[in-house]
Amino acid sequence: MAEKVQIKVVVNGVEHHSEVEPRLLLVHYLRETLGLTGTHVGCDTSQCGACTVHLDGQAVKSCTLFAVQADGSSITTIEGLGSVDSLHPVQEGFWEMHGLQCGFCTPGMIMAAADLLNRNPQPSEEEIRHALEGNLCRCTGYHNIVRAVQYAANKMAGKVGVAADD
């Protein structure tokens, strides 16, 4: 077994110092070391996007990074985006528009959508579909996911001061 490496990351605002194997993927670090199981693993080829988190404010697939590569970074997972008492507009949009069924792709989908709206606050339907093509959903046919993102975009436009998540 390879020698462990010391890393420091801030996850959802909390600083963690951990010793990790160099081969440990960021997604497994989040799920298994930190117990943040909201970030899911849906494939082993970086296609499905279920593991999408924000790394220093940008959406990344956490299965494409080793935990050691996140050393010194700030990470937001679905658990840090918003809570039941204070939902992020994208979370609210998914609930309002029935943007989820089994819920498994949902955290990654929400993180990818939130990232899109950070970059492009008023995306067209085509831009939404394009931005989410790295996230697979087998339940919804994407119909209500598109509507959920549109809901969130409208909500964020109408409410000045909705905090960005990172």
Binding site: H40, C102, G103, R138, G141
Partner: protein, 788 residues
């Protein structure tokens, strides 16, 4: 009076946990002392296992056990049985870990248990298996050829079963005297279900009480408990608890009894520690049961009036290497019996030959047999309409079963309960603007643009029932459903159902109905499902049975609660029970609104029993076991509009409209969501998805790089509406909606693509319609295409 919730697009109560990342899927769970399993899988489709050397793996630091098939067989672990039998069916053994031969890529030859998943996977690579590779066969028709390699030594012809339905003689006669006939050779492409949550299982054994708990990604935990207890492991049924917590999609693939569930249970007892296994997606591709995979010759005959007189079908249905739980039912009763579709066809004959091959087992995948039937029937209808020079819609209209013909007895066993097909078709045509679309298609063709319009009128049979009938057809299980409604002293209500929700929103929709029935706030109702330790019994969710069967049981149990509540109210109000009415959320003396008791007051008194009828049991709960009288028969019309780019062969979906009829809709948000997802999966089959095997039985599309799932930019916003034709034989009149989208959309898109290609003289292509396939077909046809 509280607002009626039946029919309301209520937001789902299950969503807060999913949108905040606090769901509880099997792989999210960690138990004290938990260890991990990794499987050693055959890289060969067919190989004799000459020797297995586990010594290196066993001595790897952190490894606790390496389990072989021989060890489990010696420990008395039996083969995994199938749940459906036909006369003369061959049921070769299916051991969780094979010990003589590997019969498909991914067949388990050993399991490694270690302190961490990483160690288990490292050590799995240290297991040395001495394979003797053998010739393999992957295509059903190849497996039937003389001299083909046998999948199971004692079944040299590879035939698991043959099956037929219908009057062959009458059909042959109808063909002999037909005005016109058409014939299609169809390949229904093999699909990988690909629920987004990979399968996972976690087992725990309590030595002191000799009890097991299995958490697993399942659509039907009681079926696992029964199979494991009674057939496979001999665990007393009351010592095994199976829990299906949050499950990330199923689509059929999580119905079956899989080997890994047996392995983790065995290992948990052996080691005295909880054992977890979670599939990697590449394992899912070769071990989750696949869907479809038919090779079919389909024929249709008509008379001079354009009435369909007969349909004749001969299908080879590839079963893969082993029989899984419901595999024998899928290409037979769920397929051949659906070949009347929505039409008055008087004579139908279907013959099915089901061979084993050296491929991943094939079983039910969303729609299960019904999409295969709909696809071939609706392709035949379009091709025949073209032969007759008729618009495909008018040809359909001429042959639809009229509304006054219900209940309608088909020539293939089923009796349709209710339907109004033509009204549904007309609504869809009007909404989509069919005439204008045909005009636009003409104009586009003049400009060298190729639009195609595909229309499908579909029927679905769901909620298999009654149990006695299903049993007579070969099911080794009942198909009734149970419900327990438990009222607490504070008037809050727990509803236990034997169905399972893995995305379908039962926690919301079923609570809406219970709240209506009891006239209480929906917040006071909680649905409990997915745990053999909590519900009375149940057969789970598949075949769109949850609403027609599971919810019917709930409603009837709830009505028992109301009857008992009336008796308690009558006692408290000093009235006769027959004078008590249940209105405005209260139990009151008819015509005397002042004399009333709330549901809470009754629930409390039922538990205190201080002032209580002498002849009545205390407590307020009711159980109901509901066995439906018949299947339910949803139907509808789907219309796809596509454009094919002749230069690239790319198919672009322009519009998709569905008008579905599943009876009264409980929650439109959820019902429409089911349709959207089903349509996307059907589009996947038509345009993108195929499990491709080479002749040696290697899967060539075994991950998301090579197997294309529909993505957001493959879809359009779906136009949806519905008609309402209630089911006449269940308490709410509801039918199923879970599979309708998949059943109709593959055929609708296929018909649309073929319609677009008509100017090129192309009559039929097999799915999926990849750009390359379309481009080649167009290139091939170019010389004949002078007119365009």
């Amino acid at each position: 009076m509280a607002e009626k919730l039946f029919g309301k697009a209520m937001k789902r109560v299950e969503d807060p946990r999913f949108i905040t990342g606090t769901g509880n899927y099997t792989d999210d769970m960690t138990l004290p002392g938990m260890v991990h399993a990794a499987m050693v899988r055959s890289p060969y489709a067919h190989a004799r296992i000459k020797k297995i050397d586990v010594s290196k793996a066993r001595s790897h630091p952190g490894v606790l056990a390496v389990i072989t098939g021989q060890e489990m067989k010696d420990a008395g672990i039996n083969s995994i049985p199938t749940g459906w039998l036909h006369p003369g069916i061959k049921t070769p053994p299916h051991y969780a870990i094979t010990f003589d031969k590997a019969r498909h890529v991914g067949d388990i030859v050993a399991a490694v248990i270690a302190e961490t998943r990483q160690i288990a996977e490292d050590a799995a690579q240290l297991v040395e298996v001495d394979y003797e590779p053998l010739p393999a066969v992957s295509l059903g028709s190849d497996a039937l050829k003389p001299g083909a390699p046998a999948v199971h030594d004692d079944i040299p012809d590879n035939i698991c079963f043959t099956w037929s339905i219908g009057d062959k003689e009458a059909v042959d006669k109808a063909f002999a005297s037909a005005y016109k006939t058409v014939k299609l050779n169809l390949r229904n492409n093999r699909l990988v279900p690909n629920a987004m949550e990979p399968r996972a299982s976690l087992a725990q054994y309590h030595k002191a009480s000799d009890e097991y708990t299995l958490w697993t990604t399942s659509q039907n935990p009681h079926i696992h408990r029964l199979l494991i207890a009674a057939f496979i492991m001999g665990i007393p049924e009351h010592k095994l608890r199976v829990i299906a917590p949050d499950v990330g999609g199923g689509f059929g693939s999580k119905i079956y009894q899989y080997p890994e569930e047996i392995i983790v249970l065995y290992a948990a007892k052996k080691l005295g520690r909880p054992v977890k296994w979670t599939a990697r997606r590449s394992e899912s591709f070769v071990t989750d049961s696949h869907g479809r995979d038919h090779e079919t010759v389909a024929e249709m005959a008509v008379d001079q009036n354009g009435k369909i007189t007969a349909v004749r079908v001969n299908t080879i249905a590839n079963l893969g290497a082993y029989l899984t739980t419901f595999a024998p039912a899928v290409p037979t009763y769920l397929y051949g019996c659906l070949l009347a579709g929505t039409y008055t066809t008087p004579h139908i004959y279907c013959h099915v030959t089901a061979p084993f091959t050296h491929t991943t087992p094939v079983d039910a995948y969303r729609g299960a047999g019904r999409p295969e039937a709909t696809y071939l029937l609706e392709r035949l209808v379009d091709v025949m309409a073209h032969e007759l020079g008729m618009d495909p819609v008018e040809f359909r209209r001429k042959n639809l079963i009229p509304p006054d013909a219900f209940p309608y007895q088909t020539p293939v066993a089923l009796q349709y309960d209710s339907g109004n097909y033509e009204a549904n078709l007309d609504k869809a045509l009007e909404l989509v603007g069919y005439k204008q679309l045909r005009q636009q298609q003409e104009e586009w063709r003049k400009q060298g643009r190729y639009m195609g319009i595909g229309v499908v009128t579909y029927i679905e049979a769901c909620g298999l029932a009654p149990s006695a009938l299903v049993g007579s057809l070969g099911a080794q299980a009942g198909q009734w459903e149970s419900a327990l409604v438990r009222v607490m002293p504070t008037g809050k209500v727990e509803v236990f159902t034997g169905t399972h929700s893995h995305g379908q929103g039962h926690e919301t929709a079923f609570a809406q109905v219970v709240a209506d029935e009891l006239q209480i706030p929906v917040e006071d109702v909680v649905l409990v499902h997915g745990d053999t330790g909590r519900m009375p019994y149940g057969w789970g969710s598949y075949g769109s049975r949850s609403a027609p069967t599971g919810l019917s049981a709930i409603v009837l149990a709830t009505r028992k609660i109301i009857d008992k509540s009336k008796k308690i109210a009558a006692h408290l109000l000093e009235a006769a029970p027959e004078d008590i009415v249940h209105e405005d959320g209260k139990f009151m003396v008819k015509g005397v609104p002042d004399k009333a008791k709330t549901f809470f007051e009754i629930a409390l008194q039922a538990h205190l029993a201080h002032n209580y009828p002498a002849d009545l049991e205390p407590g307020l709960e009711a159980t109901h076991f509901y066995d439906p009288k018949n299947f339910v028969y949803p139907f509808g019309t789907h219309i796809a509009v596509v454009e094919v780019d002749p230069e690239t062969g790319k198919v672009r979906l322009l519009r998709y409209l569905s008008v579905d009829d599943c009876g009264p809709v409980i929650n439109p948000l959820i019902a429409e969501g089911q349709v959207h997802g089903g349509i996307a999966q059907g589009l996947g089959q038509a345009l993108l998805e195929e499990a491709v095997y080479d002749k040696e039985g290697q899967i060539l599309s075994g991950n998301f790089l090579e197997y294309t799932l529909p993505r957001a930019d493959d879809m359009v916003q779906i136009e949806h509406d519905h008609t309402v034709t209630p089911c006449p034989h269940n308490p709410l009149g509801v039918k199923g909606i879970g599979e309708a989208g998949t059943i109709a959309s593959t055929a609708a898109i296929a018909n649309a693509v073929m319609d677009a290609l008509r100017p090129f003289g192309i009559v039929h292509l097999d799915m999926p319609y990849t750009p390359e396939k379309i481009w080649r077909a167009i290139q091939h046809s170019r010389p004949a295409q002078a007119a365009d």
